[in-house]
């Protein structure tokens, strides 16, 4: 890389301030450095300002205006009332905007605030350096809120801007952009290998102490109750819920029921989770079969529940504690505020002992209905009960009922107070929660323990990285029924009405009108950008799996694969080998440099000329000077005599008379040799 420099060497200035032995860093800051710092600051704080109270934008604008005014000499830059008023106002604003002063948001607010205020107090290089340091913490704060690939790249851009600003503090004078970028790039490229090495081998520790977690904002997803119309709203969002990566074969679409929550309490309109104080002891299955192993990267949804297939047998979280819960559910210890990965092994078939029974309490819970209401439905169920149908027959009867004249739609009519009766006997149009809700009601009324399950169904594969992407549009509700000898059995009444919903996805199950209501998630469009969207999503997924989820366990795997062990001796051995390798490489490089003496600027200009002459068969002798060589060329070949003499004369002027103009001429003459173009 060629670095442009001015052609003169110079002494910049001598300082009038006597300096003692202590080194002073307090040289006044140059304007170009201030501009760079302000630019980098803008890049860094804009994403943070979106997350913080709006008045901080105003503070920022005021600070920049103040800086401008100071530059224009409208205000005195060192210490005036205005600046202190600004600082005082900001502190008061912070005090009232963040009622809880110890949480992450308040801390980030304070950080951004001091970052902005410090620009008004920036006279020396020391101040500039402090600003840069605050900038690095602010970039870390960005990562705290968002770790996606996009924000990772944005953060890298911010860091580059900070580095450029940082460097401008220590250049002797202002430099052109190309120059600075090339310097900074060299620095980054040299630092990168060490950074990667540290990232891979430095031990990953568990949190040293508990910290307040930032809240994810405005995330869509389930709540822990389900009323008619809730899912209909949810599927209008195209946001990604999670991505799943299967180890081994892909399960069939009809096996892709991602269970999230089990809702067992019904109040006549909404389904809720059973209250926690119910002490339910579930009988665990005897054995498992048909295992599916997969890992899930879930988007933040501000809840603790997680999604899994069938019956999870083993769960493991990355960077967080997760646990199995009753009813075959998985949940995290803390709320999910950032993208998180977890691994699950699920069993598609589970075997219970022949004589396994529901506990009394659980049976009661899963048969309970409100005291009154929905008389028609109750009557129908009681009729089935009286006619002596067994569980299987009751299910078949209910599914047949749905199959006969019900319509699967995203825009069902609004239901009154008798939700189940109105749906079953008059409107007959509904979305999955209507079917699940009324089916469960029917079963309970007919004496069959049943419960509603909400989660997602299906998803789209991204074949680039071979993972399944599940969006809010895949939200779904279905039913589980207790059957003696089988345990809880999954049943999807929606499948009876709209089999396409299960096999092909929600878009295929709806009519065109409804389809437009479904949220367009990732990979659901059909435009020219789809391949790019696919690639981007795949890159995101890889990023998540290899960068964000690189934890102690993954580190162990990587170290074992590359170094043959993850204990510190193996790591030291590996580092030693790496060190020897690099030292030898470096030594060879140095040796190569020594053999090739560095040319002076003038001599470098002659390189094209020498190449030409060597091609023509003239060879410079050992220790022969430029003049002597050119002279010899002129003598051997008369037609080169004039151009050779011309070049020699120019070279002489450059070397002995330090003639800068001659340098350009020499450059041209060497290139155009043997043609002489004088001007």
């Amino acid at each position: 890389m060629k670095i442009i420099r001015s052609t003169r060497a110079e002494i910049i200035k001598s300082e009038n301030k006597p300096s003692s032995t202590a080194v002073s860093v307090s040289t006044p800051i140059r304007f170009d450095a201030i501009y760079w710092i302000l630019t980098a600051q803008a890049l860094v704080i804009i994403p943070l300002l979106w997350q913080l109270p709006r008045w901080l934008w105003g503070l920022w604008a005021l600070a920049i205006f103040w800086r401008y005014a100071a530059q224009k000499k409208w205000v005195n830059p060192s210490g005036n009332l205005l600046k202190w008023l600004l600082a005082g106002g900001a502190i008061a604003g912070w005090y009232f905007s963040f009622p809880q002063r110890a949480n992450t948001d308040a801390m980030v607010g304070l950080l951004v605030m001091s970052f902005i205020l410090k620009t008004t107090e920036c006279q020396t290089n020391k101040d500039g350096l402090l600003l840069i340091f605050i900038g690095f913490i602010a970039v870390a704060a960005q990562f705290l809120f968002n770790q996606s690939l996009a924000s990772g790249l944005y953060g890298a851009a911010c860091l580059m801007a900070l580095l450029l600003a940082w460097q401008s503090l220590y250049f002797t004078r202002e430099r052109p952009l190309v120059n600075r970028v090339s310097y900074a790039s060299i620095l980054v490229l040299q630092a990168l290998p060490l950074m990667l090495l540290l990232f891979v081998v430095m031990p990953r520790l568990t949190p040293l102490w508990k910290v307040p977690m930032p809240e994810a904002r405005g995330k869509t997803g389930f709540s822990d109750q389900l009323s008619p119309g809730d899912l209909g709203q949810l599927v209008k969002s195209g946001e990604t819920a999670f991505r799943a990566n299967f180890i081994g074969e892909h399960p069939r679409p009809r096996d892709l029921y991602w269970r999230g929550l089990v809702l067992s309490e019904f109040d006549g309109r909404s389904w809720r989770r059973a209250s926690n104080d119910l002490n339910i002891v579930e009988e665990s299955p005897q054995s498992f079969d048909q295992l599916i192993e997969y890992s899930i990267v879930i988007e933040p949804h501000n809840q603790t529940w997680l999604f899994s297939l069938a019956t999870p047998t083993q769960v493991k979280g990355t960077g967080m504690q997760i646990k199995k819960q009753e009813a075959g559910l998985v949940a995290a210890e803390n709320i999910i505020f950032q993208r998180t990965q977890y691994q699950v092994i699920s069993a598609r078939s589970v075997f219970f002992p022949e004589n396994s029974q529901l506990s009394q309490e659980e049976r009661q819970l899963n048969l309970s209905l409100p005291k009154d209401g929905n008389i028609q439905t109750r009557a129908l169920a009681q009729m089935w009960q009286k006619s002596g149908m067994d569980t299987q027959q009751k299910i078949t009867a209910a599914l047949e009922l749905f199959n006969r004249e019900f319509v699967y739609t995203l825009s069902p009519p609004v239901l009154g107070s008798e939700v189940v009766d109105e749906f079953l006997f008059s409107s007959k149009r509904g979305f999955c929660e209507h079917f699940a809700s009324s089916f469960t009601f029917l079963m309970r009324a007919a004496g069959v323990p049943a419960r509603v399950v909400v989660g997602y169904q299906g998803g789209k594969y991204n074949d680039l990285e071979n993972y399944l992407i599940v969006t809010q549009a895949d939200a779904h509700a279905w039913v589980e029924i207790w059957q003696q000898g089988f345990g809880w059995v999954m049943l999807d009444p929606t499948a009876a009405v709209a089999p396409n919903r299960i096999e092909l996805g929600i878009d295929e199950a709806l009519n065109t009108e409804d389809r437009s209501l479904v949220g367009q998630g990732v990979l659901s469009g059909s435009g020219w950008w789809l391949p790019w969207e696919k690639r981007w999503d795949a890159a995101n997924f890889t990023w998540q799996r290899w960068v964000l989820n690189y934890d102690a366990a993954k580190q162990k795997n990587v170290l074992e694969r590359w170094l043959g062990g993850s204990d510190w001796q193996s790591v030291m051995k590996g580092l030693f080998v790496l060190g020897v390798f690099f030292s030898v490489g470096f030594a060879l490089w140095l040796y190569g440099l020594r053999k090739k003496p560095t040319l002076t600027a003038e001599a470098r200009l002659l390189v094209p000329l020498y190449r030409k002459l060597i091609k023509k068969g003239f060879k410079p002798k050992e220790g022969e000077s430029v003049m002597a060589f050119l002279n010899r060329v002129g003598q051997i070949c008369p037609e080169y005599k004039i151009p050779a003499r011309y070049v020699a004369k120019l070279f002489e002027q450059v070397v002995y008379a330090s003639d800068i103009d001659a340098m350009d001429k020499l450059k041209r003459a060497a290139k155009q040799f043997p043609h002489v173009v004088r001007n």
Partner: protein, 316 residues
Amino acid sequence: MRHKLEDYWHQWILQREPKAQFFVLNRRNLYTFPGIPGFIYLVLVLILWLIGTNYQNNLILALAYGLISVFVVAILHAYANLAGISLTILQGKSVHVEDTAEFTVQMCASNKRGGENIRCRFHFQKSILVELNCQQPITVNIPMLTKQRGWLLAGRLLVETYYPLGLIRCWTWLHFDQKILVYPKLIDGPMPSPSKTAVGEMDSGITAGGSDFDGLREYQLGDARKHIAWKAVAKGKGLFTKKYVDEISEELWLDFSQSNNPIEERLGILAYWVVKLSETNQSFGLQLNNLSIPPNKGNLHRHECLKALALFDGRL
């Protein structure tokens, strides 16, 4: 305590790199260590690492590792900024006490990058900022305040840089073997020359005062043209030649023993007259206790006199 440590440090450096007039900066004489900002930076990185660990946030951890790597690279860059620079000390110009003496050092960077943001200063002196380009020697004048007459030794020159990021200080102390003669301070006072009676035989009535105009006489062939009184010619009075006293005056002596002032003041006044008389190109001699410099004029004579004054040892 601190001074003692510093003395040891400089002793140690002097042992590694003896006094010389020419130095090349290399790993023998260059030292690198984080400056105060460097340590603040390390604390910052530690904080980031703690945040990254506590929030289990890999990007923040990566940021912390990246910043540490930049720190390591900055060490190499700071070293490379100074390595390969050659410094030659040249003869400096003499000055008077309390003027700023300037040692002239020729610097040249042998590497391709040159040298950026280099600060040079003598111990406890003002610093200057230097930028070097590849293989283009420059001369810099490094100031040193003078406090007493006599030989001013160059002593320890600090060459340091905080380039590229201000985290790492790379520096060296070079003990230059060069000296500058510092003349006494100029003090305005009555001329310390012997009175005419003291000198004796002089009774011509002409003060040995200087180049004062003393009247006109008729022009004779061989008189200098510039001494012709052109005004008189213009008035039509004919050709006259201006007479100057020094043409006929006796030798002029400046004598140290002519006054009872403190020694330094006497030397200052003598120096003042040496300079003043040299400016008007008069011939004078200097009597300094048992040293005497015969009357003469010119720069060399002036320097010889001032040197004698600068190195005068009052105890003799």
